[in-house]
């Protein structure tokens, strides 16, 4: 038997969802990788059949709790396309803001509670709080701000209820939005310290495939999740990059030196 190792993580921790991984290493070559996704099937597509269109958002949002805002907005846009409904700029902006709130919450959760403990040698954010209480309190505050944006616009952070075909049940008050903006801006200086912390982290040495980065052209020069267009010239460039990428990946996968499936 060669110098082989087996790495098994039956239930991957600190992610949303259920999965495990099995890795077999022979010498310095990975010979086998298996992922075991034992997440139960819930058949959401089938659940929708026969439902009234106004119920769709409330069902689809429950695919996932952390990204329920994304499922909601996607469902609403699909319904509006199907029904030929056009929404106002304000509705687009508020939905974008809802998604940004969800992103802040989700990323704060991931970075500070799920990933950072590993880098600093703690088994959880709660254990980390023993030594880094101030930092954890700040991280939780940032996460909370993301949730408060979602609560203000979506009515609730997990599974929004205020988000409807055509717009919203109740519009947020201007002064509530201003209050949130003030709190977010106040958190920026402390966030700088976290950027420094993140920059100081030692990342493990891992072989990496050369990466092709693809991005959307921003709509009206702002960071947005939708209505981002691709200008014609850039489209050609992106198609070109994509074609090169496909050919190069094909060649990579055909290699016999252990990089890629055997």
């Amino acid at each position: 038997m060669s110098a082989g190792r087996t790495v098994v993580i039956p239930h991957l921790g600190r992610v949303e969802g259920h999965g495990g991984i099995f890795v077999r290493v022979e010498g310095n070559r990975v010979s086998q990788v298996q992922m075991d996704i034992f997440e139960g099937s819930r058949y959401y597509e089938a659940l929708l059949k026969g439902k009234h269109f106004a119920e769709v958002q409330g069902i689809i949002t429950r695919i996932c709790a952390i990204c329920s805002a994304s499922h909601t907005v996607t469902a609403l846009q699909a319904l509006e396309n199907a029904l030929g409904v056009t929404v106002s700029e304000r509705v687009h902006d508020l939905r974008g803001l809802l998604l940004l709130g969800a992103t802040i919450e989700s990323h704060a959760l991931h970075v500070f509670a799920l990933a950072l403990p590993d880098f600093l040698g703690f088994e959880s954010v709660l254990a980390m709080a023993q030594e880094f209480r101030e930092e954890v309190v700040f991280a939780l505050r940032l996460k909370q701000l993301g949730n408060q944006i979602q609560e203000l616009i979506g009515g609730r952070a997990v599974h929004p209820i205020n988000t409807l075909v055509g717009g919203f049940g109740k519009l947020p008050r201007h002064r509530d939005l201003e209050l949130l903006r003030g709190q977010l801006e106040a958190s920026l200086p402390v966030l700088d310290r976290f950027v420094d912390l993140a920059a100081s982290l030692k990342l493990p040495e891992l072989p990496q495939a050369p990466t092709v980065y693809v991005a959307l052209r921003p709509y009206q020069e702002a960071f947005r999740f939708f209505r981002a267009g691709v200008a014609a010239a850039q489209a050609v460039l992106l198609v070109g990059i994509f074609a090169v990428f496909v050919v190069w990946q094909y060649r990579l996968l055909s290699r016999k030196d252990g990089y890629g499936p055997s």
Binding site: G40, K49, S124, L126
Partner: protein
Amino acid sequence: MENGKKPKVGIFGLTGCAGDQLQILNCEDELLWLAENLEIVDWVMAKADNDHLCRLDLAFVEGVVATQRDLEDLKAIRARAKRLVGIGTCAVWGGLPAMQNALSREVLQREVYGADPSFLDSVEALPPSAFVPFDLLIPGCPIEKHEFIQAVRSLLVGALPELPKVPVCWECKTKENLCRVIYFREVCCGAMTRGGCGARCPSHGVACAGCRGPVEEPNYDSNITMFADRGISWMDIAQRLKNFSTPLWIKQGLEKEVQRERR
């Protein structure tokens, strides 16, 4: 709890969206207090170094049983936990994953995956409360943060919290909302749904979807009359009402009344 030591706690998710576990993490103001008062030894979603075997004083479970593995995991949790608490409508009533329980898994798999994938471990989605006895069941989709914190406070002193006995309808009137049924003639489940959410949806101009499951004594007969008087058929309301608690409807023999013809 016992001997003045912190109770050993496990938090688990079966098949679900993880929303109730996320709500625990969403108690940002109380999270450090929770850590100081509970010894969370098994929570795969939030920590590494989990003890999957030790005895637990308290176990929280969210989600439905939708796979064989879910059932095995649930039984193992019940066996090792002194107190078992179900969190979320899925755990209590079955929730959305159970919505089409009248259809077989084969039909659902064909509709979604286009074939009968035999490798899928997929069983009829039922609430864990249908398989093992629970000490406490907290509905909500997701659970209310304040109900979770209150439950923990009660459990820490060896007591069980009381669930609200009023329907959402009562909370809605307390907020002086215009009634979605009487004023807007909408299909609103509030009169038959367990309160505790503060009638959040009607307060945003949206009819109650019944996500917290049925209230005690929903009084369907009077509700049928009230809706009929406003031109809303029982079929319309039942279609909405059963979404989050279909297993109960099937058990009561009501499912065939509301199963619409599917394409």
